[in-house]
Amino acid sequence: MANTKTDEKLQKIAKDLLESGEVNLIIGYTKGSNPQRMRPVFITKPEEAEKLSFSHNAVQDLAVFLKKQEVKKFGKIGITVKGCDEKAVNALIQEYQLSRDNIKIIGMQCNGVIKQNLADKGETKVSETTVYDKCLICQEHTPVLYDFLVETEEPELSLSGNVKPYAEIEKLDALSTEEKNAYWAKEFDKCIKCYACRQACPLCFCSRCIVEKNMPQWIDTNSEEPGNAQWNLIRAYHLSGRCIGCGECERACPVNIPLMLINEKMARDVYNLFGYKSGLDINAKPVFGVFSESDFNDFIK
């Protein structure tokens, strides 16, 4: 398959990094199991750099691999990231899971990735109706931090304004408590407790998840309504103010729970309450590591 200019540039950067020994591993994308899919690839030899590729099907957030012990062993790592994914790298640095010195960030300019279920059905066009909602609100088409930048050849994503990203959030906000409850009860009922949402999340890096702690078992293990709700609640709570919105949890969910409606809502609330957005600055202190004496107090009697 012919290389695009983007691919060539990407391959050159990776090859140089590996040849010079600046990194021992490049995490990137390569062609996947069908023409509309990309998959992660791990390159350790300069001559294999030609496997690297990038397109609007590069849906995965490769930062998730930075939490894997097997990957950490490589030491100095180069990673291919879209703007959204790059925020995960920043958040990992903020939370001491990664040292800036050990990572070379190959930032990919990106104008949106096509929803995987549509791509699987043959969709090839990037448009506001085919990309993920995260792409529609994306402020980081060019990553906020990078060592190398690979510019995109794709045209800018044109937004008509007719497609409202995460429109359900406003609708849910307007519902009564009962109605909200009914909505989420139905959604959580689907949950099968596979924890794919957790595994796909670059920021769920605990080596033992709270749900795996059984002395005490705070979160019921059952996959019925209460257990499912507890899991989803605590997962969302642990990511509040930390989630960078890559949407991998929702994409990984085999039963299509709209997890991003929760994550995005909490990101908005945390921003409104504390003026903090996750993953934008590696020197910023995480929102729940600090406080202000003038924090929101109205809800407390």
Partner: protein, 340 residues
């Protein structure tokens, strides 16, 4: 019982489904939900989506629920009352029909039955399996992720189905494999017309792209092969493969309760989780994701077949389609076969 053959028109099939629903059968069929198709209870024929290849999840949960109560107890004063979980399900779903699944899904039942009746007879599984009537529809167009043919089945296999429907023009041929299916056909005999085997169109010649025996022979000899560590570096251990798999059956037994009441349950579990085979000491013999994915391959393509004479895989391809990191098990099995 020998296979029996019937014909049913498309119109009558619709009537059949609607009538059994009226007669209080619980009909589980592929139905559209949240932009995808899942197995779910339908209230009329139209709700079934028979056009898609396979629902996103298998119907495993009707054999092995994602959470099953094994027993419950309640305490009042110094008295404790225990209730067997089996009581709750005995005879409860005698009238449950899985309609519109594919031969691969149907094949999963008898394969799983083996492990649930090997030394200990799992009454929970058996009670559910016994009562389930499975009406499958043969596939006409498998996709690139399908490999049932390689897994000793085929898109037209009747293995595991009580009734297999094969479309032919505007009618279906119904291959009835046993009493359960026959009873159902007889109860609605006005809709079915008996026919003979020679009338049923012969199965197509489905081609294999690799030999699963070769895959097995690679696994027999290459436990420590580098392939596992390298290929599955991209595995994030999400377990979606195991949860969507119709044959994966690992479960985890847990207790829940307080000072007044409690229960013992079993939940789905996965060999892909970091705490799988984690010892109390903190040591885990399967420490990397490569180790764990190898375990899945070993279990599916080697260990199970050695013990039960069947591979623990029906080649439905769900694990590949649903893998967030695009790990294609068919490709993997083929790679291994090629390396053998």
């Amino acid at each position: 019982m020998e296979e029996k053959y019937f014909e049913i028109s498309s119109d009558n099939l619709k009537k059949f489904v609607d009538r059994i629903i009226t007669d209080n059968y619980e009909v589980i069929a592929p139905t559209d939900k949240d932009g995808d198709t899942f197995y779910g209870k339908i209230s009329k024929f139209e709700e079934a989506n028979l056009d898609i290849l396979l629902p996103k999840m298998s119907y495993k949960e009707y054999l092995l629920p994602k959470t099953e109560t094994l027993f419950e107890y309640s305490i009042s004063g110094v008295d404790t009352e225990v209730k067997d979980g089996l009581q709750g399900i005995t005879g409860a779903n005698e009238k449950r029909v899985i309609f519109g699944g594919r031969p691969c899904d149907a094949g999963a039942g008898p394969i799983m039955e083996k492990v649930f009746n090997w030394d200990y007879k799992d009454e929970f599984f058996n009670e559910r399996f016994k009562n389930l009537t499975i009406i499958s529809i043969a596939c006409e167009k498998p996709d690139n992720y399908c490999f049932c043919t390689e897994m000793q089945l085929s898109p037209e296999s009747s293995y595991g189905s009580d009734i297999l429907l094969k479309k032919s023009g505007d009618k279906y041929f119904a291959i009835v494999t046993g009493e359960k299916g026959l009873n159902l056909v007889k109860a609605y005999s006005d809709l079915f017309a008996e026919t003979t085997k020679d009338k049923v169109p012969a199965d197509k010649d489905w081609k294999k792209i690799f030999e699963i025996e070769k895959t097995k022979s690679f696994l027999d000899k290459n436990f420590e092969h580098n392939y596992f560590q390298e290929r599955f570096l991209s595995c994030i251990g999400c377990g979606v493969c195991t949860y969507t798999c119709p044959t994966c059956h690992c479960f985890d037994i847990q207790d829940e309760g307080n000072l007044k009441e409690g229960r013992r349950i079993r939940n789905w579990d996965s060999c892909q989780f970091g705490i799988f085979t984690l010892h109390t000491s903190g040591h885990n013999p399967r420490v990397t994701q490569g180790d764990r994915y190898r375990q899945r391959l070993m279990h599916k393509f080697k260990i199970y077949s050695e013990k039960f004479d069947k591979y623990l895989c029906v080649g439905c391809g769900r694990c590949s389609r649903n893998c967030p990191e695009d790990i294609d098990i068919k490709e993997v099995a083929k790679n291994l076969a090629e390396m053998a």
